[in-house]
Symmetry: C2
Subunit: 462 residues, 2 copies
Amino acid sequence: MTQPCTLPAAFTGQLDELLGDRFSVSMAVREQHGRDESIFAAMPPDAVAYARDTAEVVAIVKLCDQFSVPIIPYGAGSSLEGHTLAAQGGLTLNLQQMDRVLAIHAQDQTASVQPGVTRKALNAVLRDTGLFFPVDPGADASFGGMCATRASGTNAVRYGTMRENVVNLTVVTASGEVVKTGQRARKSAAGYDLTRLFVGSEGTLGVVVEATVRLHPLPESTTAAVCAFPDIDAAVQAVVQIIQLGVPVARCEFVDPVAIRALNLYSKTGLPEQPHLFFEFHGSESGLNEQIALVQEITQDFGAGKFEWSASPEARSKLWEARHNVYFAALQLRPGARSIVTDVCVPISRLADCVNETIEDLRRSGMIAPVVGHVGDGNFHVQVLVDGDAQSEIDQAEALNARLVARALEMDGTCTGEHGIGLHKQGFLVDELGSVSVDVMRRIKQSLDPRNIMNPGKIFSQ
Amino acid sequence: MTQPCTLPAAFTGQLDELLGDRFSVSMAVREQHGRDESIFAAMPPDAVAYARDTAEVVAIVKLCDQFSVPIIPYGAGSSLEGHTLAAQGGLTLNLQQMDRVLAIHAQDQTASVQPGVTRKALNAVLRDTGLFFPVDPGADASFGGMCATRASGTNAVRYGTMRENVVNLTVVTASGEVVKTGQRARKSAAGYDLTRLFVGSEGTLGVVVEATVRLHPLPESTTAAVCAFPDIDAAVQAVVQIIQLGVPVARCEFVDPVAIRALNLYSKTGLPEQPHLFFEFHGSESGLNEQIALVQEITQDFGAGKFEWSASPEARSKLWEARHNVYFAALQLRPGARSIVTDVCVPISRLADCVNETIEDLRRSGMIAPVVGHVGDGNFHVQVLVDGDAQSEIDQAEALNARLVARALEMDGTCTGEHGIGLHKQGFLVDELGSVSVDVMRRIKQSLDPRNIMNPGKIFSQ
């Protein structure tokens, strides 16, 4: 049961005056901002503010600083680890109305956007420029959120993650100062890399109010293909070899038979219920032919069936839309279920071991859990479907995740390739890097946010 | 005149005991560590310690912490901005004896090295693996130093800088704690990006004791070519177009007629004294042909002469060795001179303007100053040759640099593409990012090094 807003009247009064109907303490609005795609119970904020520009963000942050009110930046609300839940109450700062593309520098292949712009919105604006923005998490996430979680997606194997694709940021810090992290040059050795410090900081160090990102030339030619494998190990081994040979695949996605079943039901893909790899190739005509010949040879060495081609833009778009919808498709395998999604990423030499041991663990558990992965990066997800009201199922899924993370860490991998820590993986972060490293993070946090108002309680306890 | 060592006897006694003849207060050793390639007068440390392993680094740092003695990490001593000068005295920590390649994971395309390993030493070890490490600053720099300055070089246009090529670091912090910044997976969203925070921190946040770096497959085919242009503008315009078309050149270097003269004298290259571009192409046979055809077409559109090929490994190696030696070659144009080297980097759309205005500025100044650049990144260097004893010449060169930096910043560029801030560019850093951003860096520094012992006085005043 959501509690009444407990913020001081002097605080809410000033926000009311500043924002008018863009400030709300209504139960419905608060509850809407207190949920995400994670397994956590709703944690509504005490109030929600909608900012329209940087000056408003500064004013709002300064008020939160003055009254020591937690502030939770909020974009598309699609995070999976509880990042946007108001764990300590406070004010959720909804940035969806800061949705302008501020500049496109086509010659320099950069775009500057406000935090509420989504990846699809930017790509729609770019349509006639011959350029595109590659980072594509499952949801149509906002740039603020993608920066905050260091997002990646299916293209990262070729084009990198947000780490590689953010050129600079403008951030409002906890004291309401506006910090620019860099210029627009392709490289720089000018002081600490504040850009990379804020990318992945999950809203705990400041509010991103502007991001300049790298764009990439649309490839001369693009082809997509899917192929089925006799077993999971064969599919993963084929990926390992493709990556080790340095084939510049643009996408290389693993989809297990359970996920294929979900896709067939949800997106009418009509694929055989076998382990699959989905590929996309970018390049010149002849470059494409070289890549494809090599990948076909390798996959056939591992017993794959014939490539099914999606050369037309429509067919490709249908294929990748199906892949992007796998999360929602999988939920239909068990109507009413919620998901607990794992996110390990391991060195490619250990990928086959990690996937095989995990599939065996899953088999023993009897849970419904499709497995998909950006396997070209060594990253894969197990989406465990649980009854959200059955604690025993949640415990079972969490135990599986804990075993999976331990396995990945032992292989020099990470507990999270792209979803972030949020509320969910704080213990794993310590397991992964050690308490000394996490304490370094904590000291940085304290130096930039001494009152601990910026998304408190996320990444680590503070 | 170097002053006697003023460190407390209790401190030097313990180091003596710990390190034996690997601890020195001799004038000669101190003076050798008090100079670099910058224009600054020598600033010798009070003592020099040579560490052999991480445990020794920890012990040395803890002693420095206990006695509040500045500690300056020292690799190959090739930095250009005064990074290794003992501006506040203290102990120089020479890491050259930590020179082991600890692991090569060929399947994952990573190597783990100690900080004293140099880029050439690693590539020699990699010779039979089919892999190479691409980052190549002019000198045979050490990995500790390359991490500390966020180094790049001629390959960055294709393979990125140290920012993109460091997978994780192990760092000894100011309190003597050993921090691991990440695992060996290709990507991770696990907490703050400590790896990128330490890369480029110029020794002010800790001592790098181990680095895991990305390796890249040796290309199937490699070709290099040089071509001469009628004027500087034509050469730069050709580069801009090559980059904007997304041609994946591996190297794309500009060399002005003055630098060509220096190369001809020093390396017997026998090139016409005109503006040149030096290219290297990596790829499959057919990919190479596509790249070359496109680049030839573009360069000829801008009036370039014929490509001179260096297809054989020996000829290529001679070409790039000549290019890497340009710094020393240029010094011969004015025997006994010292260099003041500029390092701006601008968005590619502004490169031609920036180079043209700078060349015009140089022409008016009458100084001897070859211009070379990693122009595919928008980065170029003016190497102004000055009489190190003539303050007026130094002032004139610094004034030229200040105008150049102002020009670059106005174009959304940076005061340093790859050399770092050190002692030399602290004012420019504030001009570039603003005092609020630099203060964020300062707060991070204070949080991790409260006694200010780690290379104090570098990047910003503390």
